[in-house]
């Protein structure tokens, strides 16, 4: 919870920085600050406590995910340095930084909430700042469109969330998730229909936030329209935050009521996996491709949600980490290539293997990791989630997931093939130092996790 406060302060500092015009040093300071916060966050490991009389709780769950979130934001900030280079961006750099950090605040709340209010606030903080960031390229219609679509649908969905919260409050008379949990345990056998409806409405809202089919429509458009960096943020931090919150919500409040939502979750999971993979097959725009692949990943993560009776949080965490590092590496490379070639379509990668082997190798590894091929982290994430699902008897879902991950391999390979066997285009691709750093760190992490996945499986 200190983490949260410090992060908020850091955000405020970002705003003030404009006044003391520290623009030049802003990013380094921010990065440094986040690094410090990251280490502080580790302090709370194995020190579960509750703050603001039951509004927030620190638990290993929240600590772990907070750590991950902070790490992602750290990477994003590092990337931001060389991403916001145009004069217009220069002007607003401090705002951007601040808003990004506030996004992190929202995420942190979503990890450590103990009360529906905090969940709501967290989600909104996260979303609102993202609406802004998604639309931050004011003069690009695409960006506007992305921001506005996201905004409209996001607020629409949060209305459902609120209605659900209200109904549950009406039945249980409390907003504290533990209180709700108690009620749910007590009345597990005959639950008030209002409670169930409330639960289902909340589940719908959360499914929207994690961009699971059939609530996934916003994702591709927003991902494509938003500035690439923000897309990276959305496809990693936001997704992970939403899943963590979703997981916590269901595992604490609704475990025994889930039988009433089984079909919805199962159908949604299957649909998400299939739609994500199938549509990604036909994409030419790299960001859109990653958007759809992100949808399919959401499907795999839903497997963990579905089978959470078996406490699959560590599997979920491992998957999130693997997914995050891989996508960050992919985006870091993609952004470089976009900058160089000026196109966001896969053809931009043609012949990268000749022009810049290291970059191509990095992207290949990222892609293989996303495709879930050993020895990269992505594979282990998949493996553990599948294994958990299998243990909880969802063989058919697992089978479906495995089959469709073959489809997944196909479109990830499309990029690799483009890099290695297509005719090279003339643009010179040269990543800046910070990008090289990020790429190397992420790839190394991805392999490291691949070699020692054991560190994560017992973590939570």
């Amino acid at each position: 919870m200190n983490t949260l406060i410090y992060t908020a302060c850091l955000g405020l500092f970002g705003l003030l920085a404009e006044i003391f015009n520290l623009r030049k040093y802003l990013i380094p300071i921010m990065v440094l600050g986040l690094a410090v916060i990251f280490s502080l966050n580790l302090q709370t490991w194995n020190h579960p406590e509750t703050h603001f009389n039951g509004m927030l709780t620190d638990s290993n769950f929240s600590t772990a995910f907070s750590g991950l979130a902070i790490f992602i934001m750290l990477i994003i900030l590092i990337l931001a340095g060389d991403f916001y280079t145009s004069s217009d961006d220069e002007k607003h750099i401090s705002d951007y930084m601040a808003i990004l950090v506030f996004t992190l605040c929202g995420a942190l709340m979503m990890f450590s909430y103990a009360n529906m209010a905090m969940l709501f606030l967290g989600i909104e903080t996260l979303s609102i700042s993202l609406y802004v960031m998604a639309g931050s390229r004011r003069f690009e219609v695409k960006s506007n469109e992305a921001g506005f679509k996201y905004f409209l649908m996001g607020s629409f969905a949060s209305a459902f969330l609120l209605f659900g919260i209200a109904l549950i409050f009406g039945v249980t008379g409390t907003f504290s998730i533990d209180g709700i949990g108690v009620y749910m345990r007590a009345h597990a056998d005959q639950l008030d229909p209002l409670f169930i409806v409330g639960m289902l409405l909340m589940i719908f809202a959360m499914l929207f936030k994690v961009s699971a089919a059939p609530f996934h429509f916003w994702a591709p458009d927003v991902y494509e329209g938003a500035p690439s960096l923000i897309t990276a943020l959305m496809s990693t931090l936001v997704k992970i935050a939403a899943f963590a919150a979703f997981y916590k919500l269901l595992s604490v409040c609704f475990v025994f009521a889930l039988g009433k939502a089984e079909i919805i979750l199962t159908v949604s999971c299957a649909a998400t996996i299939l739609i994500g993979n199938l549509v990604a097959l036909t994409q030419d725009n790299f960001k859109r491709l990653l958007a759809y692949s992100g949808i399919s990943h959401a499907g795999y993560m839903l497997l963990a949600i579905i089978s959470l009776q078996g406490s699959t949080d560590s599997a979920l965490f491992l998957y999130s980490t693997g997914y995050a590092v891989a996508s960050l590496a992919a985006f870091a490379i993609a952004i470089t290539v976009f900058k160089a070639t000026g196109t966001e379509s896969i053809s931009g990668f043609n012949g990268l293997g000749k022009k810049n082997p290291m970059l191509a190798a990095g992207l290949s590894m990222a892609m293989l990791s996303l495709a879930g091929i050993p020895p990269f982290a992505g594979f282990f994430g998949k493996y553990f989630i599948f294994s958990e699902a299998m243990r909880n008897g969802y063989q058919n879902l697992v089978f479906l997931a495995i089959i469709s991950s073959i489809i997944g391999v196909f479109y990830y390979m499309k990029v690799i093939v483009a890099m290695y066997s297509k005719q090279a285009n003339e643009f010179e691709v040269k990543p800046t130092f910070s990008y090289q750093l990020v790429i190397i760190v992420c790839i190394v992490l991805s392999i490291f996790i691949g070699i020692f996945p054991g560190l994560f499986t017992k973590l939570l």
Binding site: F120, R138, L152, L162
Partner: protein
């Protein structure tokens, strides 16, 4: 205060707010003007507020009403952001019809 609230059976509140909520949803789905859609969303939120207030007064604890304040604040923020976005859009395409916003598809 209490009794005036409780003069009406709780279910009525429930029905009313559900009704309002549905109106909001319908508005969102049927209207094409961004501003009106924004207002419909506000309507949905207010339906929730009403529900919360009634519940909290029946349950006799203030939590619900506190929550309403949260919602109001957030809603305000949301609208602010939304309108800002709308303005920039209007600058670019000189319209508030959401159907024009379909550059990105498939």
């Amino acid at each position: 205060m209490e009794n005036t609230m409780q003069a009406v059976p709780q279910n009525w509140y429930l029905l009313l707010s559900t009704f309002m909520f549905c109106i909001g949803v319908m508005g969102v789905l049927l209207r094409r003007n961004a501003i009106i859609i924004l207002m419909c969303i506000e309507l949905m939120l207010n339906a929730v507020n009403l529900l919360l207030v009634s519940f909290s007064s029946y349950a006799g604890n203030a939590e619900g009403q506190v929550f309403v304040f949260f919602i109001m604040v957030v809603a305000a923020a949301e609208v602010a952001v939304g309108l800002a976005l709308l303005v920039s859009i209007y600058r670019n395409i000189a319209s508030t019809d959401i159907d024009i916003l379909s550059k990105m598809k498939w």
